[in-house]
């Protein structure tokens, strides 16, 4: 009997502590602070010096993706002809099915051109069935947003 | 990698260097099972014996009651499809002596193998799983209903020729 009362008091005091100092936050008003390394949806980066994407459509990330969620095609880079860019080929179309993507970050690890990053974007939603398929412009948009927010820079070449 | 059970036996008997644990294991088993053709291999760091399926049950009972390899726990049971035959690996562990041993048994797909679920209860679900994935029949097992797959699933997904992606969704 005594220990039951003791247990009750213990529980009540904990409840009281919890009521006074809540640890939960209301979601849309106070979103959780993301850590620097947070891995959200993948996005493509933009080379501001030459004004073109880093991605050359080399398909390394596509071959290494565990879920086969991406497709890409490449084309001849028009800027290579007038010698304003060193990239012979450039990405033409790029598509990531964000419903299939498991946010593992393997594509970022294997990319040789620092063209793909895991952005902080994680709250995408769409109202139609193909809404989760993100095309090149969308990927460049979230990638560019991440670039400006976090001050991302390509890794220095040796 | 050997393609036939006979090849596997020849291959391992040619191995010259044996580790002390394996020699100890070998002498004990060869003195007990005189008529049985046994082969001894190291599975990674585990001394193992390749046993014909007829004497598998006797060997398991012997290893469970033996004082040196007091294998009271069946740690793992795995089936491996080598196209022509299926190899079933039993990993036994003794908590008191802290030693691990392995038993390998090669079974052709149209053959049956004796169950060990009367020796270790842990084998019950493992054998059902292997039955699901490889279609090996275990003689004397009480309940061979599908465990991981749903009722009426056709094919054996553990086999190498089972397709990866173009299967029917349930």
């Amino acid at each position: 009997m005594l220990s039951t009362v003791k247990g009750m008091i213990q529980t009540l005091s904990s409840t009281w502590r919890g009521l006074r100092k809540p640890v939960t936050k209301l979601y849309p008003e106070n979103p959780t602070v993301l850590q620097n390394r947070f891995m959200g949806f993948p996005g493509l980066t933009w080379d501001k010096d030459i004004d073109e994407p880093f991605c050359t459509g080399c398909m390394v990330c596509i071959r290494n993706c565990p879920t086969q969620c991406m497709t890409a095609t490449m084309k001849d880079n028009p800027k290579f002809a007038d010698e304003s860019s060193k990239r012979r080929k450039i990405v033409d179309e790029f598509e990531i099915n964000l419903n299939r993507c498991i946010l593992c970050g393997i594509c970022v690890d294997v990319c040789n051109f620092d063209a793909i990053v895991m952005t902080h974007e994680h709250e995408e939603s769409g109202s139609y069935r193909d809404g989760s398929r993100m095309k090149l412009d969308g990927l460049l948009e979230i990638g560019g947003k991440y670039q400006t927010q976090s001050g991302w820079k390509p890794a220095p070449k040796d | 990698m050997a393609n036939k059970p006979d090849d596997a036996l020849e291959e391992v008997s040619q191995t010259t260097e044996l580790s002390p644990e394996l020699i100890q294991f070998k002498t004990l088993l060869e003195s007990t099972f005189i008529d049985v053709e046994l082969a001894f291999v190291m599975t990674d760091q585990i001394p193992s014996v390749v046993v014909p399926k007829e004497s598998l049950h006797d060997l398991c009972v012997f290893l469970k009651t033996n004082s040196v390899y007091d294998s009271k726990m069946l740690s793992c049971m795995a089936g491996v499809d080598y196209v022509d035959y299926c190899q079933i690996l039993y990993i036994l562990y003794s908590v008191e002596n802290n030693c691990t041993i392995g038993i390998k048994c090669n079974v052709e797909y149209d053959c049956k193998i004796q169950t060990v679920s009367d020796i270790w209860k842990a084998a019950d679900w493992y054998e059902r799983e292997i039955h699901d994935l490889y279609g090996i029949e275990f003689e004397g097992h009480e309940d061979m209903s599908p465990l991981l797959l749903y009722d009426g699933f056709e094919g054996h997904p553990g086999k190498r020729d089972f397709p990866f992606y173009n299967y029917e969704e349930y």
């Binding site: 220990s3 290494n64 565990p66 393997i106 | 990698m1 990674d44 793992c76 908590v95 209860k121 842990a122």
Partner: protein
């Protein structure tokens, strides 16, 4: 008179528990045959979450399989990644650097605490206590935030690579871990005070779901379920892997093998994990964590390995057969929850329906690992 007797005759009732039952910890169905409130027979049905991870891994390259291991035991991701990485490393006959091993151990032990904290919360819910769940989630969330700042993901990390780590830990890693330790200790104590010696909880769990040592070994139980029955078996002690031989820690062992003992073992294990982390963070060596393999394709030579490690739920074993290509020939996981759950038939027989939830909760199963 005859009529009365005939009326009193009862027939057994079949009761389906699950697959959408909140206290089956996932999608797990039990066919209970009950006589009044007493369970006569149980027929467990698993496989609702069978994704064929073993089969899928035969079609994936070695570095991609880590993502599948993350999703097997989704409460102890780092521990699962570790055992797979160890298996491939042994196949390649390479050893990661000391710093890698130490960071791996620290993260694994933190993950063990997080997993056990979730267990403490859910066993409370199963026994009818709401508050411990809320409090234990505070501690678990702190650990997960730490994981997020290290690996970038709260649960599916994909941080351990074969032969190393994905990237160096943040600069303030040591400070972060040191800061979190007293907070986690306080969280554990708080949850423990609420639950472990609570009279109601004791009466719900003491002498319920008893499994003797012989039965536990026969069913292949490992981890806290086996240690609760009084068997001192921990892979970290019996066959030390990684750098566990460097640390001084005890293996808590229960006495009776009932639900409370299994609970107590887990609570004590959290304190032991904290001890390991303290020692590891003090001894953390300098060095390189990057994998010497780099981005090269992993192509081990022919061979087979069996590697085992201690998960929060028990002994996890990986049997890996390589045929010399870039994909494994066969990968078999010995999931601890699978074996622990196979004893449910024995545990539930002749117990009450109300206790079945507590017994199942005390086994601490993760269905992602049972079904794979």
């Amino acid at each position: 008179m005859m009529q009365d007797q005939q009326d009193n005759q009862t027939i057994d009732m079949m009761l389906n528990m699950g697959p959408q039952h909140p206290s089956t910890h996932g999608v797990f169905r039990m066919e209970l045959r009950i006589d009044g409130e007493k369970i006569i027979d149980v027929k467990p049905h698993i496989g609702y979450l069978h994704r064929g991870s073993e089969k899928l891994s035969e079609g994936e390259q070695y570095h991609q399989i880590i993502t599948l291991f993350d999703r097997m035991d989704y409460l102890a991701n780092f521990n699962n990644e570790l055992v797979y990485c160890m298996a491939v490393e042994r196949l390649l006959d390479m050893e990661p650097s000391k710093r890698t091993e130490y960071i791996r151990v620290i993260l694994c032990e933190l993950n063990r605490i997080a997993s056990h904290l979730l267990y403490v919360g859910t066993i409370g819910l199963d026994a009818g206590a709401m508050t411990p769940a809320l409090f234990s989630f505070i501690g678990r969330d702190r650990i997960q935030t730490l994981f997020e700042s290290i690996s970038g993901a709260r649960m599916m990390h994909n941080y351990f690579k074969i032969g190393g780590l994905k990237q160096e830990v943040p600069d303030d890693f040591v400070r972060m871990v040191k800061d979190i330790m007293p907070v986690i200790r306080r969280d554990i104590d708080q949850t423990e005070k609420l639950l472990t010696f609570n009279e109601i909880f004791l009466s719900r769990t003491k002498d319920i779901g008893v499994i003797t040592a012989e039965q536990a070994i026969d069913y292949g139980l490992t981890g806290p379920c086996l240690r609760g029955s009084g068997i001192n078996y921990d892979v970290r002690k019996s066959e030390p892997y990684s750098v566990y031989q460097d640390f001084d820690f005890d293996v808590p062992v229960g006495l009776d093998g009932d639900c409370w003992d299994r609970h107590w073992v887990r609570v004590k294990e959290m304190h032991e994990s904290l001890r390991i982390i303290e020692q590891a963070i003090d001894k953390l060596p300098d060095g390189d964590v990057a994998s010497p393999l780099g981005r090269r394709l992993i192509r081990p030579s022919e061979g087979e390995v069996y590697v085992k490690a201690e998960n929060p739920r028990g002994e996890i074993g990986v049997y890996l057969v390589s045929d010399g290509t870039d994909k494994p020939y066969r990968l078999k996981v010995r999931p601890p929850s699978f074996c622990n759950l196979s004893a449910i038939q024995l545990l539930l027989q002749n117990s009450w329906v109300a206790d079945s939830v507590v017994i199942l909760g005390s086994l601490d199963i993760v269905l992602g690992e049972v079904d794979r």
